[in-house]
Symmetry: D4
Subunit: 149 residues, 8 copies
């Protein structure tokens, strides 16, 4: 994530990763304020055993796109809500990546779903995670009551 202030939202991601028993690391890496840290992180992510990178940032949100420019791992972007434009700026800064360097963009503040999508991606080759995800999805479906109260 780009800053400490993104953590309250990105914790949603941690929550589902824990539930699904996916190993993860939480780091603050700012494209703008720590560009070299970002470069080092992105260039060594694969070597360091990451399978998916989830990047949350807001406003002129360049983090996910810049990481994607430096790795061929799948990169998922979480556009963070912003105080003024409500995350529309973050969403367009992430979703509208140019041809050649993709990121998969989630909803504004969609940190929880980023974890779920990472699970889908990892589930392609890790049957344990796949089965955890399937179980969680089944439980989710069952938890939806038929009538409101």
């Amino acid at each position: 994530m780009g800053s400490q202030s993104d953590y309250p939202i990105m914790k949603d991601c941690e929550k589902i990763l824990k539930i699904l028993k996916i190993k993860y690391q939480v780091l603050i890496v700012s494209a703008h304020r720590t560009p070299k840290r970002m470069f080092q992180f992105a260039e060594s992510a694969e070597k360091n055993g990451f399978g998916v990178v989830i990047a949350g940032a807001g406003g002129a949100a360049h983090l996910a796109g810049m990481i994607a420019s430096l790795t061929t791992l799948p990169v998922l972007g979480v556009p963070m809500e912003t105080k003024k434009l409500k995350g529309l700026d973050s969403l367009l800064s992430m979703a509208q990546m140019p041809k050649g360097v993709p990121i998969g963009c989630l909803a504004i503040d969609g940190a929880f779903n980023a974890g779920l999508l990472a699970a889908s991606i990892i589930g392609n080759f890790d049957h344990k995670i796949k089965s955890n995800l399937e179980k969680w999805r089944r439980l989710q479906t069952q938890s939806i009551k038929k009538k409101p109260k």
Copy 2:
């Protein structure tokens, strides 16, 4: 894709999948006009050997989200440009998925990048595809001239 008219854009996806030697199938599956076909496709996609689903649709673009509701495969959405609102409607209809059912959203008309992101996802467990992707990315970087003409 949701309709024949999406094909000119979705061909960009085919192009990169071919270059990277990823096996794929191209189908027209409309969430609204062929909902049962969509259900059957989504429910059997994994069993039928799909590793990633890429769904392109426009306007009130429900295809990617509905497929994601019926499978735990990673689903990538390509919001198609629309004549009136230029794809802003498609983008919001895809990106703003509710908690619990994620899709990875690409740029408006970002079919080419959807193929690249699928390659990243598959590259996690298929070294041949990984290496094809890395090679393509290197060539892309080299192809960018230093000065415009």
Copy 3:
């Protein structure tokens, strides 16, 4: 409605349906989290005696459109306000349906008006409802004071 959290708004709909003495059923049916429930509901709605379906959902709001894809009953959509984009996402996800599968879209959080429009539709063949609606509209007009206080 798509989730329990939509109920505070959808209660406005209940309120006018009760006033106009229209029989109704309130159900939670999520296009994304309970897609099969949604299918079964939509496919059997007519057989089960529904004359109009009112679907409230927010964000990438696919519920109304998916129900409309599975029935020829009139389907009315209520785009729910969302925390980030204030319901603009919901509105575009509902209003911009593709050619061939219509929904009648109300205002953001327009649950009350959805009930009134349902009454208009039912009033076409049920004179009691028609007369209740006409009476309610007259009373509404009379209740508007000439000067503010």
Copy 4:
């Protein structure tokens, strides 16, 4: 419709009404330029045998809402594309009706779907129209090819 210039789009509505054998009348009634004609039309629409009113208008599109203020018939609005704002102005001018006077809003330029929704509404009490609509929807579904060309 509000003006002669809306006719090329509103013809889509005529087309489906003809296919479904729904009787209709096509009139130019401008809320702004012929307000009295609009009043007379709206106030006498029910008496004149209309079951549904479909109003297409663009920009500050007041036609559908004003008709709805003067009748308890179901009123469907078609926000027309505008040259500058692409119909976003028309959409908001129609969809965002205040509590108490509803219209069912279609997509921008969604005249065809307005006809289909009118058929759903009329189908509630006219079995011939209902069956024409069901047949048309079945044919539509069958016409969607499985693969693009």
Copy 5:
């Protein structure tokens, strides 16, 4: 104004009209809920001695435009802030009037400025109002401190 709930904002208008000693009348006239009252008001406004009409309304804000369709008095519109779309809907519903029937649109919630603009219009033929306006403008300019505190 269209409803009692618009009064807290429209009071700003009253305030400046009082300061400038312009005679005025405050009425609730809803285009949608009291269309006949609106017609009668608009058609008789000139005869009743009005020189300018200021109409405040929100959402699908048709009041100003409909009054303008029924009188040749200058009509000023105040698009009211709305809870969901912050008045963007009101602004487009007012500003984007079709060719042939103009309104002069103020800022969202710009009721105070509507009073000032009315004063400019009336000042064209009423020297007392003109001089009150000029004085108020001078005082306004003088009241702006050179440095913030």
Copy 6:
């Protein structure tokens, strides 16, 4: 108007002013490129016999607002369509004037309506113009055919 390139649209204004026999002067006055000319124009407009100022400008459209800051004549603004943002930028730059300095904003490219609104304003004290305007409005209403062709 702010530039020669605005003239094709502002000619619509000339057209109706001629029809209604309102005397006018057409000037290019750019807030940004000729700020002193703008100052001189605005400060002397009243003395020079102007009764209403109509200012057309596009993008960051400051012309109408700046003229309004320098005169107590009624100022009408025509936000011009822009190539990129279609005039949404012009509209917001004009409509959203701060408290204390009003302009009456027309539709994007609404030059014709600006002329009509000026006629309404002038009609308050010039009976000849008033009667020309009323006649034009009557003819407009009569010219709207009942059925499209």
Copy 7:
């Protein structure tokens, strides 16, 4: 800045200017309410020793653009958040300046960054400021923790 109410945000600018030891003057200059003060300020800014002008204003924010029209000093604009449109109006009113008169636009409420950009500009010829800025940027980078808490 355009008004006293802008000061809470513009103080962020003061803060960084003080840290970087850049001499500055804080003035209230409203384009609309004190146009002559604005003219005098802008025309004499260079003579009075200013090297950069930072203008913060909101809504139809004309201040930065008008100052830029009257000086060849670099002018930076800070679009202020507005209550209704969240500063989108301010941003477009500042950023979309016409060809020939530039301003450098910061983020909505980006007063702090305006100070930093001014430091970059001044740093081009003032080595002390340059070195203060470089030091501040290094400290900023170092202050970003590696992990959130």
Copy 8:
């Protein structure tokens, strides 16, 4: 600039730089496709004698912001028009930079103005450029005709 396709617009910048006799270099540096070239360029720009960096990019436009993260030179951003969202995405991706790393954002496709603003910045310490800029601005003002043709 980020790609060859930006050159037709960025040529506007070259044009004014030539007129004002400012030395410049034109390079293609893509944040996403050539991230290392971007890093090297940005880190050595000052050492290589640049006084201002002008970065033009479109869509999720990260180039200007990333360069600003790696240098303390003033960085100006030109958000390029995009086919779908008309440059609104580019504008928000550039303007909404986070606190700590500023760029000065020009209008969409505002390459010409970027050159003029660079001239203002350089003019602070280079009297020749200053005087060229002042002369150009004077000529611009004189070139604006008083009446359109």
